[in-house]
Symmetry: C2
Subunit: 325 residues, 2 copies
């Protein structure tokens, strides 16, 4: 096992990079903007260039780097084939292949969906520490999900395991989700969805009083704050979110029955006012055998991705060592 | 690896037993009634006595039996702890421990939920042959489910992984499922559920014509036959079943993204008139990345359980051999 690893979390607006040393110690973390132009063709060269600068500054050679772990915001197969990534304007290609062409000295390359990677990060260093089977759901602009079973990330046939945000929870919905379907969980339970649903309700019920009417342009955080201050409409909207999400998570638990369900993403900072509702509805609708599944908040925030990407490389190296033993 | 294995599929009315020889060849299969009386305390002794008679007749010693695989109709942990099994009137106890007390010569004991075991059987010998990640759903009196990821059965924290029948698909349902909750998939998509929903509809719409009215006591099979003969109500009921099941399976696929989804159980013998509807609705509601998941019918019928139970023992033996290599 070589002493250094890079963990790279590629997002739609920024690429977060982590340079890890012996025993997974984070030596440096930084970020660069994601250049989407020209079909995202700058992204991998930018990453390689950043890693090379870092190695030069630290006086470390590629021969001492175990590998590079990369998380991307779309389904990706276990072999690292990305199957169209809208946020990066990427088509279908092999990330390890392209990366090796740019820098043949890179030894091990692991790629995963960003939330799957973050889930691994949380399992090793965050809210899921000590657990072996984890489901994580991140509530942000969209909804992401990650699934780990028996210590291993689940990729799925098309790299789409854990795409919890696009589970259909309302087949009668008339508006479309950005994925093109109607009734996805994301349409109701992401920060964006919460805002949209609240505005829809306020427009449909103009007589209903809420402090949100006094704000010209409120945010998901404002809704959570208003709920905490006792605003009926705001609180009821969080209830509805919690009910939909609780039911959806009980279906996920019916499939893999995890040790713990982690809630992350920007909206999770709302705290108990939302967290308690999700758990209450989960326990109401979940089958008795997994009714008491533990819930926890994700802990690593934006760093979960780079930690998870680093861990993918370590796990792959350890597996290989065991096989060669 | 020893040449013989027993596979034992314990159901609520009958125990199916299989005696397997070298290379997993089925040498003998038979069944005995399940004696539920006295808190199901006869069940394990009956199984041991059957195995002993079989070994005596074949002139085989326990020393030549690799082990016994057992499937039971309830959640069970990977260690073989049953957590209350209503159908067998069992409480909480360790099956391997109790079995070893009855017959200390038994070497390897593996226990799993019956549908999880059957899913493994289908993966090795039936409709899922050659696949590595499988979801199976069985439509019978109830709904069972099994999940295999990367070649390994998923048990889950409380042994309830794959409890697809009790996923909540209608939180507004007023009638209770036999599990005590309201709105479980099983209430609509099992053979029993189909019957109940059809009767409910006929009672609520007395003016609606259907050939089913001419039968004094129709069955789920009659509904499928009537649908095939063009009866509108019967066909529409299968459509509704297919829609609910298709949507539920798309949530399951959003969690583990399997290579193939197998449909089994008595109702699956309805064939294309039902199968096509499930698939159509699945493809309508599933996220694009796993929209084209393959569907297949389970092939082994009632034998899937004993085959899967046998395979659990082989897999455990092979894993141990690899570890010792």
């Amino acid at each position: 096992m070589k002493p250094y690893v890079f963990g790279v979390d590629v997002g739609g607006t920024a690429i977060k990079l982590g340079f890890f040393g012996p025993e997974g110690k984070l030596l440096k973390k930084w970020k660069i903007p994601t250049r989407i132009e020209n079909s995202g063709s700058h992204i991998l060269p930018d990453i390689v260039s950043e890693m090379e600068k870092t190695l030069a500054a630290a006086n470390v050679d590629w021969a001492d780097v175990e590998g590079v772990g990369i998380g991307i915001p779309s389904p990706v197969t276990e072999d690292g084939i990305v199957l169209r990534c809208i946020n990066l304007d990427w088509g279908v290609f092999s990330i390890p292949e392209r990366l090796r062409k740019l820098q043949p000295a890179i030894q091990r390359i692991r790629v995963a969906n960003d939330v799957n990677a973050a889930t691994l990060g949380e399992m090793k260093h965050g809210g899921g520490k000590g657990r072996n089977s984890i489901v994580m759901v991140t509530l942000g602009t969209g909804i992401g999900g990650g699934v780990i079973v028996n210590g291993k990330m689940v990729f799925g046939r098309s790299g789409a395991a854990g795409e919890i945000g696009h589970i259909c929870v309302n087949p009668d919905e008339t508006e479309r989700c950005r994925c093109g379907h109607r009734g996805c969980l994301e349409q109701y339970c992401s920060a964006t969805g919460l805002l949209k649903m609240t505005r829809r309700r306020m427009a449909q019920n103009p007589e209903e009083e809420t402090v949100l009417r006094d704000m010209t342009d409120f945010t998901a955080k404002d809704i959570c704050d208003a709920a905490r201050d006792g605003d009926y409409v705001a609180n009821d909207m969080l209830k509805r979110l919690g009910r939909r999400l609780g039911i959806a998570l009980s279906a996920v638990a019916g499939t893999v029955d995890p040790d713990v369900i982690l809630i992350g993403g920007g909206l999770s900072s709302a705290g108990d006012i939302l967290f308690d509702k999700i758990i209450t509805y989960y326990r109401t609708y979940a089958f008795h055998a997994y009714q008491d599944t533990e819930f926890a908040l994700a802990k690593l925030g934006n760093d979960a991705g780079i930690y998870g990407c680093m861990e993918m490389v370590y796990l792959a190296a350890m597996e290989e060592e065991q096989e060669n033993d």
